[in-house]
Symmetry: C4
Subunit: 245 residues, 4 copies
């Protein structure tokens, strides 16, 4: 990857590989799903693996894309069909430094039901705030699509649904979260999954008391100072069990 030879870029590539392995090790992604990070010196570009399972990604699999979702170097390997999730969010959201898209198992059910919103049930997912929007792709691609964000128009529609929030659910598909840093995006992806599981269990026990908007804001502010405590653990765990070579 000639474009990634400078030191800040190599460092971003290495961290992106770590993020891929963490998300796999924590059960957020399986063979599918992907994570990207904005280019450290070119805000109109972002780094994303070629099309492959995140758990197997290595540094040499990372490519540079522009905000149209096109690889900067032509003639490269196959790329993710849904790279437009990333490109359009980076275009719309200057604050977004990283994006995670997944089909994490506790979250998908919330994308597919009516009448229940994914909300912050405990302080670790306070960032979910007043509740997570659900993107219904039928409104943009009709009722016979393959549900994928397979072009810039659909990416822009998804980004509009995400708006200024941290996360958006995608009906019958999964979710996408953003962060102001790669570590924050990974943290949010893991705790969106954890929170979804807790909410599902709590709803069987009785009426749930969710965080207030004030509590959401305050817990988010505090948690933002604690993200690396989790990252360091997850990184060690991912490296211990890594299958990528």
């Amino acid at each position: 990857m000639s474009d990634t030879a400078s030191e800040p870029v190599s460092s971003a590539v290495r961290e992106l590989v770590d993020a891929n392995h963490i998300l796999f090790d924590q059960g957020v992604v399986d063979g599918f799903g992907h994570v990207s990070v904005r280019h450290p010196s070119r805000p109109d570009r972002f780094l994303l693996s070629r099309s492959m399972a995140p758990g197997l990604v290595t540094e040499r699999d990372v490519l540079v894309f522009d905000l149209d979702g096109a690889p900067v170097e032509p003639g490269g390997p196959a790329v993710y069909l849904e790279r437009f999730i990333h490109s359009e969010i980076y275009r719309k959201r200057p604050d977004a430094a990283a994006v995670v898209h997944s089909h994490s198992p506790a979250v998908v059910p919330f994308s597919a039901v009516t009448g229940t919103k994914l909300r912050p049930i405990f302080h670790m997912c306070g960032f979910l705030g007043a509740g997570t929007p659900v993107f219904e792709i039928r409104d943009f691609a009709g009722s016979e699509s393959d549900l994928l964000i397979s072009d810039g128009r659909l990416g822009a529609a998804l980004a509009a649904s995400l708006d200024q929030g941290p996360a958006v659910l995608m009906r019958g598909h999964g979710s996408t979260v953003v962060g102001s840093s790669l570590h924050q995006a990974v943290f949010r992806a893991v705790y969106t999954e954890v929170g979804a599981r807790l909410q599902t269990e709590a709803m069987r026990l009785g009426p749930v008391t969710y965080l207030t908007e004030g509590e959401s804001a305050a817990t988010t502010k505090t948690n933002n100072t604690q993200i690396d405590r989790a990252w360091n653990l997850w990184l060690k765990a991912a490296r211990t069990r890594s299958m990528a070579t």
Copy 2:
């Protein structure tokens, strides 16, 4: 296995061993369940392990069967009681290149209840289409059987219930899925289990929006191009944790 010495056959045997280990590693089979692949040059034959736990199968355990479910080489080791699941599906379905039978844990409950159908809740199991039929063995073997597909007549009845679909549930027993390739059959077996779990969770949260038939068709078409992304990951995971020697 003299009959498996030619190169295409040895290659099929090796992949079948991988499929056995993947299905065990992904939790689709435990000590029971089995996977077969049609013989690469003799469509009236198929490859299937002798009777043993899939997680322990090696190349030397693979046998060749004919479409009556009989081992081609006489005097061999004990064979699966339910090999007729495979033989009758290969007989009825020229398009079937591989068959997986399992008791995967999220699917069994759908086989045993009335009023709820296993349906595609997200794009990864779009292949489930308009819903999965349930084979009630009582209609063919009475209400005192051991529930097993233990002869050709029951195998044919199961194949008829499967019809042209990708999967059939078996009441109080498990399920059987078919694929136009071994990789596709394994992919479907894993995502039938994943989808069943997601549907079970979603049903507690509220009314579920399932994929339309158009979405099912479109997601299946797209996913068929992505199967090896999962296969490559699962194979690496299975090899890392393999117990077969």
Copy 3:
């Protein structure tokens, strides 16, 4: 263990150690629970570990007990408080060759609720038959006991509740299963747990069709010929992950 030096006994001891490790590895026991086997040549005696976590048991931890639950060799290490579960079942049931007592997690809820019986939902737990009795210790020890089967009188009451069946639940405590061989008892302990989990999930989806008594009998007869397919897998898995030294 001088009393276990003869070859049939050493062999029984080795298999009992394997059974301990399998039950731990399969999640049937945690730090608590125990498994015993009747003495191969002295039907009035049985083999059981000293008081310790099953996952850590070695051959030198196995002791011989009589049918009063007393260790045959005096002055030995601390023994399980609930050895009377084993002694009284061996006394009452000449057909019982092995006994497993556990707090396996999917089964405990069935012990503690009224109105729902643990029943065979799929062929692998056909042995559960017409449903599993629940032993209410309050009927024998009052409502301020520690719930343990801590003497012969309570052991006899539990054995009476078990009667001629394969399994009995113990309210607010766990369950006990018996087998005509050690392998069968372990098989039943694992599939009682598996079946309980499946039934719990199925009950959310709709009315459940359980196995008929005829199906229970027929599946049990067939499964009894297949037990070692599972045992061989579980043994390999337990040895791979063993922590006992």
Copy 4:
């Protein structure tokens, strides 16, 4: 850690490191949560790790704190924001020798719902007694707090809610348990989580019969003599899988 050089203290430090690793290995803590033990010779002090994931704690990360929650040695590393949970419980409860705070996943739902109390469903969590109180931080910090016990006043309020009991739930946050020894506190933390999971499952099956107060007292008394059976297993498991270096 100069203050921890004497033999009883070094021994307490080593056990505290073990406790950290056990709680992580048993799934009670993830990147967050913490465990402390009272200083063996100075009851007005306690030992607690610096701010980091419990699974990675080593002996050199353990610090000594006073009952105001201040590190005894100034100028040290960053400390847990919620050390006041520990300091105020040690101040209020002379019987408390160890404290575990966690967000263990089956317990959080009970903290966030109204109408359902966490109660002892089986003998292993008899210590929960008549039911576990829920601390609502809004009563003390208003409805816009970050939910953390971030000063002595909130710590004292939590300790008052805990009162003389073994455990207190914290709304939208987690739980805190105490023990008369480090082993007992860890035992209770694990079985609070196990019991919460069992209760959640049982509530779907039908009306639950919980332990009476007499049964709670009797099972607690018996279990207190059996704690090391679990501790020894958990320690071996934690060491086998340890990532701390």
